[in-house]
Amino acid sequence: MTIWQRLRHTLRHGPATLPAAAPSAETAAALAARLDAAAQRRLGRSLAIRHVGAGGCDGCELELRALTGIVYDLERFGLRFVTSPRHADILLATGPLTRSMAEALARTHAAMGEPKWVVAVGDCAIDGGVFKGSYACLGGITTLPVDLVIRGCPPTPWQVLEGLRALIEANAAPAR
């Protein structure tokens, strides 16, 4: 599509920002500014996230995919999902950590360079959630040092974003 077609389309259908997201636009701007300063100090221009689905129901994944879509546009905060663990700064895990995923999770973590952080997203990643006590689960991301938890079943994209902001701030404390 040419730029003219795109422009005409935008004029006809309005901009691609959710009206419901309007009250959050300020938070988003503030977030972007803070992230900018903090993330650059520690790790350079942007933070790369490697997601590991540790056997959840796909609900958390669904909201994470929404987070990368146009409405939230994660990349404007300097956060992006990558496929190679070697390029990742953050391991973001979802799911109750099924026993069958423990090895793959450990390997992904081992393949990441330092410094690295682990974020557990969703109630079942935190303590197993409703799957607590199952013969097939380890009760959340218990096999790695978790730096941050983001609650919810699933958390909304905004909750995930706010959580990641907290991580950046904590790790960008001065005198490091």
Partner: protein, 503 residues
């Protein structure tokens, strides 16, 4: 009537509701199995187990038909030699219950990757088995034989944000000679967790079988429980369940369309479909207090009523979508490059789709017209009417078109439902009784079945058949001898999920 259906119907009817289950002797079960190869044989939907018997569910001209056989000496006669679609189920039954499918065509482990504390965790002899020691065994794959063949393993951690799955690709140059899928990484022990809990409490497990179809799973489960206990949900609950289900359907189709168009390199269309998907999420959150509407459906009715401004939020999202959708579809039609990119890719032949009982967009894009909302049907759909779009092409383009064709249908249903919402209560209390029930619901990915046995007000046994049980093997078939580089696009058009199949 086909020979297999006649054998099943001749079996003594057990009290499964609303459709009876026919208990067969081992000999009659074996005769039924042998007759499943016939062209007019009923279509296998699923096979599952409890401690002392194995169940098989078929659709015979649209009607559910159930058969069961008692376990003897730890075995039952396999269905897979005559009906390949039974194979994954037989492997699952072996791993969870320890029942062996005698003569099964594939006896490799499936859900059990060797990492659980015990073998056969749901089986009758589970306690007698020694605990596992040592490292998990690596999964076995089919061997590749031939010149210049390369095997590539992808996963279980693969893709940017994805559920765990392992794809074993056998390639010859750029050609994908064989694709083999290995699932089970997301096995959570859901069926075991449901046992011994009251049906209302167990609903949270049904709702977490597959996040993208949480309403459909919750609904099929509720239908099964209500059938088992003879409970009828109030009219307002029935209508609002359909509102949730159709919202979930539209959102999922938009999600799948955005994913397909992303793989096809159509960034603008991807963005627009993604935008409307998000608007549906937001509307659902406003209407029912949860963006995925998880735990909204409860056995007996609903757990949440519609919020005061809920109908307005849903209507606004539908208006915006209806205003732009025709334009987006026109762009799709007019783009010659998109048409070339999607046409003929990942073609699924109609006879294969039929052999594996494909439903939802995978089935409809290969000419199969079934929809559980109409046949066998459940309220409120038969009264509202519904057109089910089908295509004959069986390729990526056809699967995308079927999805987009369902969106206006669901929009019409939603408007009709919101215009005539009944007043009144949203739930009927469940008696602490006993019974066996089978429930069905149509998800955006196809037909979902749930089966429950309730004893004295507690779940004694349960099973959930996510539609992707039968769709993953069809993805394997559709990609056979395709181009390696087409796999991501083809996989997006199937839109398959792991968790519901992994249980």
């Amino acid at each position: 009537m086909s020979a297999a259906a006649a054998i099943i119907r001749a079996g003594a009817a057990a009290d499964q509701r609303p459709w009876p289950r026919h208990a067969l002797s081992r000999d009659r079960w074996q005769a039924m199995a042998a007759a499943l190869g016939a062209a007019d044989a009923p279509s296998l939907q699923g096979v599952w187990a409890e401690a002392e018997r194995v169940h098989a569910l078929f659709l015979d001209a649209g009607s559910p038909l159930s058969a069961s056989v008692e376990i003897a000496g730890g075995t039952y006669p396999a269905l897979s030699p005559h009906c390949p679609a039974a194979s994954w189920f037989e492997r699952m039954i072996h791993d969870l219950f320890g029942h062996a499918a005698e003569g099964g065509r594939d006896v490799r482990a499936w859900l059990d990757h060797g990492a659980w504390a015990t073998a056969a965790p749901l089986g009758p002899r589970q306690a007698a088995l020694p605990p596992r020691v040592g490292a998990p065994e690596p999964p076995e794959f089919l061997l590749a034989e031939g010149e210049d063949l390369n095997q590539i393993g992808l996963g279980p951690v693969a893709g940017a944000i994805a559920e765990p799955a392992h794809l074993r690709l056998t390639a010859q140059g750029e050609t994908l000679v064989r694709l083999e899928v290995r699932l089970g990484y997301a096995h959570k022990g859901t069926l075991g967790l449901m046992r011994g809990t009251p049906p209302r409490a167990a609903a949270r497990f049904a709702a977490r079988l597959s996040g993208s179809a949480t309403v459909a799973h919750g609904l099929a489960y509720a239908h099964a429980v209500e059938a088992a206990l003879g409970v009828v949900p109030p009219p307002r609950a029935v209508a609002l369940r359909a509102v949730m289900a159709e919202l979930e359907r539209i959102r999922s189709h938009l999600d799948a369309a955005a994913a397909i168009l992303a793989e096809a390199g159509a960034a603008f269309l991807e963005t627009r479909f993604g935008w409307h998907r998000e608007a549906m999420h937001e509307a659902a959150g406003r209407a029912f207090g949860h963006r995925l509407m998880m735990d909204g459906v409860a056995p007996g009715g609903l757990a949440t009523d519609l919020a005061a401004d809920g109908a307005a939020a849903i209507r606004a999202a539908l208006e915006a979508l209806a205003a732009e959708l025709p334009d987006l579809v026109r762009r799709l039609d007019r783009s010659a490059s998109l048409g070339t990119r999607m046409a003929g890719i990942g073609r699924l032949a109609p006879d294969l789709a039929a052999g594996f009982g494909a439903s939802g967009p995978v089935g409809r894009a290969s000419g199969r017209g079934g929809d559980a909302r109409l046949v066998p049907g459940y309220p409120p759909y038969p009264a509202l009417g519904l057109e089910v779009p089908t295509r004959a092409g069986g390729d990526v383009a056809a699967r995308l078109r079927v999805r987009l064709g369902e969106v206006p249908q669901s929009t019409r249903l939603l408007r009709a439902l919101l215009d005539a919402l009944p007043d009144g209560t949203i739930a009927t209390a469940l008696p602490a009784a006993s019974g066996e029930g089978l429930g069905v619901a149509e998800s955006s990915r196809g037909t979902v079945w749930h089966w429950v046995r309730i004893e004295g007000g507690l779940i004694a046994a349960a099973f959930a058949r996510d539609p992707d049980w039968l769709h993953w093997p069809l993805l394997e078939a559709a990609m056979r001898n395709g181009m390696l580089e087409d796999l991501p696009l083809c996989a997006a058009s199937f839109g398959l999920t792991s968790s519901g199949v992994d249980l």
